[in-house]
């Protein structure tokens, strides 16, 4: 671990010298300089519209990568290259150096804040359920699912919803790990699960695309607060994170931030009215 870090620094410093052929200005910004030279930052995404989306032609969009692309451009990193990952694999992947930053709607929770260096909040959303029309099991909260021994919930593996369900006391064998949105919807239609939980905007996007009159949405889920994500950097890349935060703050102030995320349905005000410190401390 220490060695790699040292090597990264060394490589960063070396490139810096090569590029500017002068005295290195900020040796601590090794990571950023490395990304600049390389011309792109590797980001982890999940393909869960509207947070993250991959179009049929492979173009990466969604609110989180769009914000990151803009900020990296302002930092002098020309582009982002995205790789699709499961939520649960994102933080280990970040720690293993498989990507430079997570921009996937990975909501801030205290245990995640302890594992990565988050930027300031970017996208905020509440949690929702998709379920069979008429809500036959009357599920309004994760607690309701825990209390009904027949209710099964589907959620992305390692996602916030899986953790919320487990924290509410739903036993492991009734929390079904669903690999992607489409599978979740199919499992709901087939009656394998009774509720499929994702953030409100993701569920709405999924359900509106499915056009299935038998599916309805409960939003927001009772008792689950609004969560916000941030760009997640590796511990040790705080210098890069701080540079990112500076540009993010400027972006928010100029109103460009709202212009990027509001078409996707996110509220810029929600992200601007809270802070990383508050969200990471929240239980």
């Amino acid at each position: 671990m220490k060695n790699t870090h040292f090597l990264t620094m060394l490589a960063g410093t070396a490139t810096l010298m090569a590029v500017f052929a002068g005295p290195p200005a900020f040796a601590a910004d090794g990571k950023l300089e490395q990304l600049k030279t390389q011309g792109f930052a590797r980001v982890a995404i999940a393909n869960e519209p509207p947070f993250t989306a991959v179009a049929a032609d492979g173009k990466v969009s969604g609110a989180a990568p769009d914000v990151a692309r803009e900020i990296f451009k302002r930092l002098g990193v020309a582009d982002i290259v995205a790789s699709i990952s499961e939520y649960g694999a994102m933080i280990p992947g970040l720690q293993a150096g498989r990507h430079d930053v997570i921009t996937a709607g990975l909501f801030m929770k205290p245990e995640r804040c302890a594992a990565v260096a988050y930027s300031q909040p970017i996208l905020c959303d509440a949690e929702a359920f998709a379920l069979k029309k008429g809500n036959p099991l009357k599920l309004q909260s994760y607690k309701d699912i825990a209390d009904n021994p027949d209710a099964k919930i589907g959620a992305p593996g390692g996602g916030t919803e899986e953790k919320l369900a487990l924290e509410a006391g739903v036993p492991r064998d009734r929390v079904i790990v669903v690999p992607d949105g489409q599978s979740g919807l199919k499992m709901l239609q087939d009656g394998r699960i009774d509720a499929y939980s994702l953030p409100v905007l993701s569920i709405n996007d999924l359900v509106s695309k499915a056009k299935d009159p038998e599916i309805e949405v409960v939003a927001p889920v009772q008792g689950a607060p609004v969560y916000c994500d941030g760009a997640a950097f590796k511990k040790g890349d705080e210098a890069l994170r701080d540079a990112f935060d500076v540009e993010l703050a400027k972006l928010k102030e100029s109103g460009d931030f709202a212009k990027i995320i509001e078409p996707y349905g996110f509220s810029a005000k929600a992200a601007m009215s809270t802070t990383r410190e508050k969200l990471c401390a929240a239980k």
Binding site: M1, E86, Y87, G88, A89, I91, P92, Q95, A96, E111, A115, G157, G158, E162, K163, R172, D173, I176, V177, V178, P179, S183, K186, M187, Q189, D190, G191, R192
Partner: protein, 220 residues
């Protein structure tokens, strides 16, 4: 990355839960494969020509497509025509069907390897079909099949992590779920490997024993 023994003990019960499901899937999958394989082999060898041809086609079809695709089909597509199987059952059927086709080939090879003269001798001594199979053909056909079947059993065991793709909470899926909440892969994945290795080694020893046990018949 440092190895953390405390974490290992903490996750052990979860992984053992997963191991139980893995073993369950393997045992039932193997039993199903043995039966299905026999049915396929008999149909191919003794059924009237059209049925035998159809069976051959089905066997080739299953052998020629990936298990993962078949699992997705059983789990996600069959509900469209009203067949909704629980995840584990879908997995067992997938494994059983897939490996059944391999087993069928082993059975067929084993039976066809019994020299023609044995069949003729059985006929000459006026044995019934039943007696011919039970006392002449199978005792000579089965021992050479055992190593091949054993290999498939171990191969099938090692393929069970594919069931995690259809939401069966077996060993691999439990390990992933542990890694998802702890952000550590090194211990869970190492343990998965170790569990599989231990089980494979035990099966190898057991199958060696079976081979030894049955080989004298061959030399009789």
């Amino acid at each position: 990355m440092e190895w953390d023994w405390n974490f290992v003990w903490e996750i052990m019960p979860t992984l053992i839960e997963g191991l139980k499901i893995t073993l369950l899937a393997t045992v039932f999958g193997a039993a199903l494969a043995a039966v299905i394989g026999l049915a396929f082999a008999i149909l191919r060898m003794t059924a009237p020509r059209p049925i035998a041809k159809t069976t051959s086609f089905v066997v080739e079809f299953i052998r020629g497509t990936p298990l993962l695709v078949q699992l997705y089909f059983i789990f996600y597509v069959l509900p469209d025509i009203g067949i909704r199987l629980p995840a584990l059952l879908a997995g067992v059927i997938g494994l059983g069907l897939h490996y059944g086709t391999y087993a069928a080939e082993v059975y067929r090879a084993g039976i066809e390897n019994v020299p023609r003269g044995q069949w003729e001798a059985a006929k000459a001594t006026n044995l019934t079909t039943r007696q011919t199979w039970i006392h002449v053909v199978l005792p000579q056909a089965i021992p050479p099949m055992i190593p091949a079947l054993a290999n498939y059993l171990i191969a099938m065991f090692k393929e069970t992590p594919l069931l995690s793709a259809i939401t069966v909470l077996e060993l691999m899926n439990q390990a992933k779920s542990v890694a998802n909440s702890s952000y550590r892969y090194i211990e869970p994945m190492t343990l998965v490997g170790v569990f599989f290795l231990i089980m494979s080694l035990i099966s190898v020893v057991f199958l060696r024993f079976l081979e030894d046990r049955f080989s004298p018949l061959e030399q009789r």
